[in-house]
């Protein structure tokens, strides 16, 4: 396997990889997308294709443009340059009724003291499919039950959202996104604020849902562990795309380039990653045989 590189920022294409090429099975296509906030560039020249059925993790430091990229893909922001299509539609149209794109935002965007039940929150995910002046029907009620059962939250359906744990809150958001039966799920920092054991359970759930509903997942995260553990493609973003390929190809060099001074902090929070990347960086010889699975600096943790 070849490694990274990257003197000039661009999409990395592994030898033999089909990434970066537009193909029929790509469901999300970004082509030369740039965006600036009041003349201050936030994203430059992003070209990214997401394959149907894949799980893409977008990682990068705070302020690196992850949220901006997500907002562009959701149609909340419009790119200054370039084009974005989601299953051949504009992002706004793809997201409107929830049947193409489902969005799982960060948990903190919601006021969890709001007086509302889990069932009502999930039901609102169907609003894009309802004509104006229409109330929810018994059929919609049943769809809520199915969505809540899929995320194992049916027992909490009629509880107010105020008493839910962090993991349960995340499941409510997923159920709200799933209820309109999307093909693609965008997740924004899904594991933030959940302890490590809870994260593994959550990522397993995501994997099960992906198979059950035939989903394509796009996950934005600064949490290296969760991305590496659950994604089959990784995009490293710091204003532009530094790497876009399989997670096994990531090395400390790339991460340093992407996270820059944040790198130590990132690795300190994941001591096992830190040990592994130090090994790959400071030593030579057989220890740094990157093709050896035991020495892959960011190999996903074994699932129990």
């Amino acid at each position: 396997m070849t490694f990274l590189p990257l003197s000039a920022p661009h999409t990395h294409v592994d030898a033999g990889s089909d990434l970066g090429k537009h193909q029929g099975i790509d469901v999300v296509c970004l082509h030369n997308v740039s965006y600036a906030y009041e003349h201050k560039p936030a994203l430059t020249n992003i070209t990214l294709h997401v394959k149907q059925g894949s799980t893409l993790g977008i990682i990068g430091p705070n302020g690196g443009g992850k949220s901006t990229l997500l907002k562009l893909m959701l149609g909340v922001l419009q790119p200054d340059e370039g084009t974005i299509t989601i299953m051949d539609r504009k992002p706004v149209d793809a997201c409107r009724d929830g049947s193409i794109v489902g969005y799982v935002p960060q948990r903190h965007v919601l006021d969890w003291t709001f007086p509302i039940t889990v069932r009502q929150v999930v039901q609102l995910g169907l609003i894009g499919k309802k004509p104006v002046f229409n109330w929810f029907t018994r059929r919609d009620h049943e769809a809520v039950t199915v969505a809540l059962r899929a995320v194992d939250m049916l027992a909490q359906a009629d509880r107010p959202i105020g008493g839910l744990s962090g993991g349960q809150q995340q499941r409510v958001f997923i159920a709200r996104a799933l209820i309109a039966r999307p093909k693609i799920l965008f997740l924004d920092e899904p594991t933030t604020g959940i302890d490590q054991a809870g994260q593994e359970i959550f990522l397993q759930l995501l994997d099960e849902l992906k198979k059950q509903f035939g989903l394509t997942l796009v996950m934005v995260s600064h949490d290296l562990r969760s991305v590496v553990a659950s994604c089959d493609r990784v995009a490293c973003l710091n204003r532009t795309l530094h790497y876009h390929d399989r997670p096994q190809g990531l090395s400390k060099d790339v991460l340093f380039k992407v996270f820059q001074c944040d790198m130590d902090a990132v690795l300190d929070t994941h001591s096992d990653l830190h040990d592994a990347t130090c090994c790959s960086h400071e030593h030579s010889g057989p220890c740094c045989d990157h093709d050896h699975p035991h020495h892959n600096p960011l190999a996903p943790p074994k699932k129990s």
Binding site: V76, Q120, R171, A197
Partner: protein, 316 residues
């Protein structure tokens, strides 16, 4: 008792306006409280003073715009314009929302007081609406509502309830999570404008009755009280309506009967609602509700949470 019933018959218009206003304000107050729009509501109410003054002056110079209905319309447009201006000025984020509210609140109030003084210098021609005193604009006059006021209040109530029932889910989603609602195709800009328009409408109708200073309380207190009563949205809506209707209904009966009938009615209404708020707050403070997640177990995540706790306790 006979006098009491006589008073009810004599003041039936006040009672009808009172109950209509109570129901409308209580319904809107849920959205005002949950969207943290209380201060915008306050600014719109104070803009009502400016609106009334502009309407009175317009009525003097252009007799076609005189009359109670036109006055209400002009005042309503002024209030809505102020609310939209606050939203527009804060959109660029160069002026914070609380600053903009403070600025527009005092500016519209100052304009109102100035124009009312100007109007008082002009003679009142026969058939023209008498200029309102500053006191009556600030504190209202519950007892002297007219038949026109009554019909305006009934129409406003029908319009507000009709809109909220028709667009219930859109209002709920925008209140809960505006960005997500927008992503899911809800026209949040229209919903926001409708909310401001409805608040302006009830304030315009209510300003004559309880006054600009007091009407804000009616668009905040029922919702704030109901949020302490229920953790479910439908429960909050019903609770707010009950608090508003019972509170204002009770206060109206107090205000039209001696000994309180000789005093200004607006403060009686507001203080009754405040009393209910304090009592509910006291009850909730003394009897703190059990936190449901401590008593309800059965969710997958809960089970795992407990497993993790056990693991941690074993490690220690």
């Amino acid at each position: 008792m006979h006098d009491f019933l006589n008073n009810i018959v004599s003041f039936h218009k006040s009672l009808i306006v009172g109950f209509a206003l109570a129901a409308t304000c209580s319904l809107l107050s849920v959205f005002v409280v949950l969207r943290r729009m209380a201060m915008i509501s306050e600014a719109v109410a104070h803009a009502g003073i400016g609106g009334i003054a502009v309407a009175l002056l317009a009525g003097y110079f252009f007799p076609a715009t005189d009359g109670p209905v036109m006055q209400q319309i002009i005042t309503g447009i002024f209030c809505l314009g102020t609310a939209l201006a606050i939203g527009y000025v804060t959109r660029t984020r160069r002026v914070t929302e609380d600053s903009a509210i403070g600025i527009f609140l005092v500016a519209s109030m100052a304009l109102g007081i100035l124009l009312l003084s100007v109007r008082s210098k002009f003679p009142v021609l026969s058939g023209q609406t008498r200029p309102a005193s500053i006191e009556s604009v600030l504190f209202g006059d519950l007892i002297s509502v007219t038949t026109t006021d009554m019909w305006i209040a009934i129409v406003a109530t029908v319009v507000v309830f009709g809109l909220v029932i028709a667009l219930y889910n859109e209002f709920l989603y925008t209140t809960l999570d505006e960005q997500m609602a927008r992503i899911n195709g809800v026209n949040t800009r229209l919903i926001n404008t409708l909310q401001l328009a409805m608040i302006s409408l009830v304030i315009v109708v209510g300003v004559r009755m309880v006054g600009a200073l007091m009407i804000t309380a009616m668009t905040i207190l029922p919702g704030a009280t109901a949020c302490m009563i229920s953790r479910r949205f439908n429960g909050v809506l019903v609770g707010s309506l009950l608090v508003g209707i019972l509170g204002i209904g009770g206060a109206l009966l107090l205000a039209i009967n001696p000994p309180l009938s000789s005093y200004t009615s607006g403060p009686v209404l507001v203080l009754t609602l405040f009393l209910i708020f304090v009592v509910v707050w006291g009850i909730r403070h003394i009897f703190k509700p059990k936190i449901e997640y401590e008593t309800v177990v059965g969710g997958h995540a809960d089970e795992h949470d407990h497993e993790h706790e056990n693991e941690h306790s074993q490690l220690h």
